[in-house]
Amino acid sequence: MVRATKVTKRFGDKRVLNRVDAEVEAGGFLLVTGPNGSGKTTLLRVLAGLDAPTSGQVLLPDRATIGYLGHEPHVYRELTPLENLHLFGRLYRVPERAERIGMLLERFGLWDVRDQRVQTFSRGMRQRLGLCRVLLHSPTLAVLDEPFNALDEAGAALLDATLDVIAPVSAVVLATHDPGRVERLATQRLAFA
């Protein structure tokens, strides 16, 4: 469960968030929309616990239960998918790590390239790996910033299916340009101007 109360965020003189309220519980799905530069990313970073608001409060769950996927997939270029996921799996104390990693790589169609360095991947494949990383520790709060970016139709379908599975049990905050795609799952909406 995450709750933001009257959150304002300023960068220098520029005010990006202005007294924003947001609250998402397990099973909730907050859909955040708005044009580029409107503050979506900033809000998501605050809700994930990566940035502190300039004023206002944020109530965050335990760090171990948060999964964040930003505009970057957050994976090491020089390592392979297996190495990346084993590292994060270790840091997140994921039980039965090898099985879980195998299962996720299969699901997102990366099993065949599991031993290739990420720097050989296309943007879409890196994004898929980023999704694997985010889901690895079964977060109860998933904060996803434009996760459909760079995904081809197949990848997007995989993400759709995954969201269908996790939405009822986790709290999800998702920012996107293409709200139509996940409209069906949204329980709350926040539109930035």
């Binding site: 994930a48 616990g49 990566l50 940035d51 502190a52 944020v58 965050l60 335990d62 760090r63 171990a64 948060i66 964040y68 930003g70 505009h71 970057e72 997939p73 957050h74 994976v75 090491y76 270029r77 020089e78 390592l79 190495e83 590292l87 994060f88 270790r90 840091l91 997140y92 104390r93 360095r117 890196r126 990383r133």
Partner: protein, 212 residues
Amino acid sequence: MRFFSDVAALARKDLLIELRAKETVPAMLLFVLSALTIFHFAVPAGASAKISIGLLWTAIVFTALLGLTRAFVPEREQGVFDALVLAPSDRSAIWAAKALSVLAFLGLAELVALPAFGLFFSGVGWHGVAAFALADIGICAVGTLTGAMAVAGRARELILPLLFLPLAIPVVAAGVGASIAGGGKYLAFLALYDAVFALLSWGAFEYVVAQT
């Protein structure tokens, strides 16, 4: 303990990345050899061996700075730093692992630099080698912490030397002393420096990287 296995996993990751990218260590090696060559031309004939020892220490400190500037680059690409900081593991494990890997790179550079120095100028005695070993620990501990500070801001490569060099002065002073005069007091001082600043850096890293 979980902390140590986290450190091991992260340090292994850093070494693996360097093994594959082969960017930092070759640069450090080339840098230190170039620096020593320049020093040959910078030191007039008949100058005492002591001057060259001082220059060796200078070269090592700046080689370390080169390695430290590169230290957090893999994390900055692809935004991995966010993912590491969010993980439930102790953030100071990131510090320890990074310091260990830079220590390894610096050690490799010295493995080449010290014999080269012996070739170009004069040998470094055992006291000198021990001094370098101890000094490296302090340099990497403090350098990794200041490296994280520098990376958080705007002018990162510019700021790191400014933050790091004043802290390195005591190390150089004692290191040169140990290399020239021997004697336990310099090595004891270096050990003290290492203990104090490693402890401080370990404790402070959490505050330096956390945003909330």
